[in-house]
């Protein structure tokens, strides 16, 4: 039979659990000038949100992640391209209208959901977004 002391402990543990920080993966953002910043980005957010919450310059994200302004354009390191989900129709259409030239490794970072598989992802930001 559990004593009162055990009960308190259990509640305490639950509190700790609920405050456990979200799992993160490390993502590296490299600016057009070559400045590199590696950030711990929570799983379940987007590569764009990871940039904004770490004050990375070079990603504007004017629409806040709705895939409709093309100002979170990034070039994904070739070695990482295969781990990303394919480009959807609306992203494809927006990529045809980016400010900086579209390359074969162009993506919109708001459409890149962060999963454990993305650990170590490297993206480069273009010279300008608009």
């Amino acid at each position: 039979m559990a004593s009162a002391g055990d009960f308190v402990l259990t509640v305490h543990d639950m509190t700790l659990f609920s405050r456990k920080p979200k799992e993160t993966v490390s993502i590296t953002y490299i600016s057009h000038a070559g400045e590199s910043c590696t950030a711990a980005v929570p799983v379940g957010t987007s590569v764009m949100e990871g940039a904004v919450s770490n004050s990375i310059d070079g990603i504007v994200a004017e629409c806040g992640g709705a895939c409709l302004c093309a100002t979170c354009h990034v070039y994904v390191d070739e070695a990482c391209l295969d781990i990303l989900k394919p480009i959807a129709e609306d992203e494809e259409e927006m990529l045809g209208n980016t400010f900086a030239k579209r390359q074969p490794n162009s993506r919109l970072s708001c459409q890149l959901s962060v999963t454990k598989e993305l650990a170590g992802l490297v993206v480069r930001t273009p010279e300008a977004q608009q």
Partner: protein
């Protein structure tokens, strides 16, 4: 320390102005005063991603706290300005104290229009209101939304997506009448109806049957009291010139609260949108840094409801010819609006490429004929 820039209002416009001041190289003091307790945040997700459950309320801050510290932007949150002393170049705070300014930027935004006779109604403008609405939505079986504009319909779509029985009540004869043409209104009537939302057009709140939850999205009014009490001109917003300056050269107004001359409106405009807030913020930051320019950005807006993404460029009211580009039946089309032979706006439904081309066409005042617009084999980019 010399007085710097004081920005009253820490929404999207106020934040952007502070942000752009630093990127433009401004080195003086920047104080951002906001009456909410949260770090400056984005409002669009409140009625879009957050309400539908795709986005976390904790993930909508425009920048983390460390950003403000690193960029020497003093944040005064939970703080209200009581008055402006234009002679002494100071603002007085409600809880005492004064802040001196060299330049004052009013980014006071709007407040909700209140629905008379519905004391328990929910609204949706702030993060607090969004939290309350989400809680109330959890416990409600039936939801009545008063107002068939963007906010009302986004709430209706999210509530229907969560399996609630939803009725939208709109006094006008069609949905989103203020912002879009009748073809788009009809498309949304059909979209919502297909998802089980009941829509009562030409109906007022007084005629509504009771529901577990009533949400009012009946518009907002600009917060102009501070400007008015300081003797500045107010007419549906704080009146500014084409550089967003009030009659007092030390005071600017930006974002939802500002009424400014617009070539797209053909007169004074006051727009409630992220684009307007962001571009106003940038324009005034540049002006303060001695790089002043006439504000001339193309207005654009968007709304997400169910799986339909509508993007609007330009202002369509007052059109005399409208042309459909694409296929209404498959939900991928644009409506191009012309006045006196000139393109004035394009509303794009699930055609983002048309939208971005539209913004460029409108910015350059470039020629596009109705025949070209209607011809899908004609690439809009070719006219740029």
């Amino acid at each position: 320390m010399p007085a710097g820039v004081v920005i009253v209002g820490a929404g999207q416009a106020g934040f952007q102005c502070a942000f752009s001041l630093r990127t433009e190289g401004y080195d003086g003091a920047i104080t951002l005063v906001g009456d909410e307790d949260w770090l400056p945040y984005q409002r669009p997700p409140l009625s879009k991603g957050c309400l539908s459950g795709k986005q976390d309320l904790d993930a909508i801050a425009l920048r983390p706290a460390a950003y403000y510290e690193a960029n020497r932007i003093e944040l005064r949150m939970g703080c209200q300005v009581a008055s402006i002393d234009r002679k002494r170049l100071r603002v007085a705070l409600v809880d005492g104290g004064e802040i001196p300014y060299e330049h004052l930027v009013l980014a006071t935004g709007c407040r909700n229009r209140v629905l008379a006779g519905f004391e328990g109604a929910c609204y949706l403008r702030t993060r607090e209101e969004a939290s309350l609405l989400m809680d109330r939505l959890d416990a409600a079986g039936t939801v009545t939304v008063i107002g068939g504009g963007f906010i009302g319909l986004e709430v209706a779509a999210a509530a229907a997506g969560h399996g609630r029985r939803v009725t939208v009540v709109e006094p006008q004869a069609r949905l989103m009448q203020r912002a879009v043409g009748p073809i788009i209104s009809a498309f949304y009537w059909d979209l919502h109806t297909r998802h089980g939302v009941r829509i009562a057009l030409g109906t007022t709140a007084a005629e509504v049957a009771p529901a577990d939850l009533v949400v009012a999205g009946i518009g907002v009014t600009p917060r102009t009291e501070l400007a008015e009490a300081a003797g500045l001109a107010v007419a549906n917003g704080i009146v500014v010139d084409e550089r967003l300056r009030t009659e007092d050269e030390k005071i600017f107004a930006i974002g939802d609260c500002a009424a400014y001359p617009s070539r797209f409106a053909g007169g004074m405009a006051r727009l409630e949108s992220v684009q307007n807030a962001v571009d106003h913020g940038r324009c005034v930051a540049a002006a303060i840094c001695g790089k002043g320019r006439v504000y001339d950005a193309v207005p654009w807006f968007w709304t997400d409801q169910f799986d339909a993404k509508l993007q609007m460029a330009g202002l369509s009211s007052g059109y005399d010819v409208q042309v459909v580009r694409g296929d209404l039946a498959n939900g991928k089309f644009s409506v191009c609006y012309f006045r006196a032979g000139r393109l004035i706006a394009i509303d794009s439904m699930n055609r983002p490429g048309d939208h971005l081309a539209a913004r460029k066409l409108l910015a350059g005042g470039l020629a596009l004929t109705a025949e070209q617009a209607a011809d899908l084999s004609f690439d809009l980019k070719a006219a740029i």
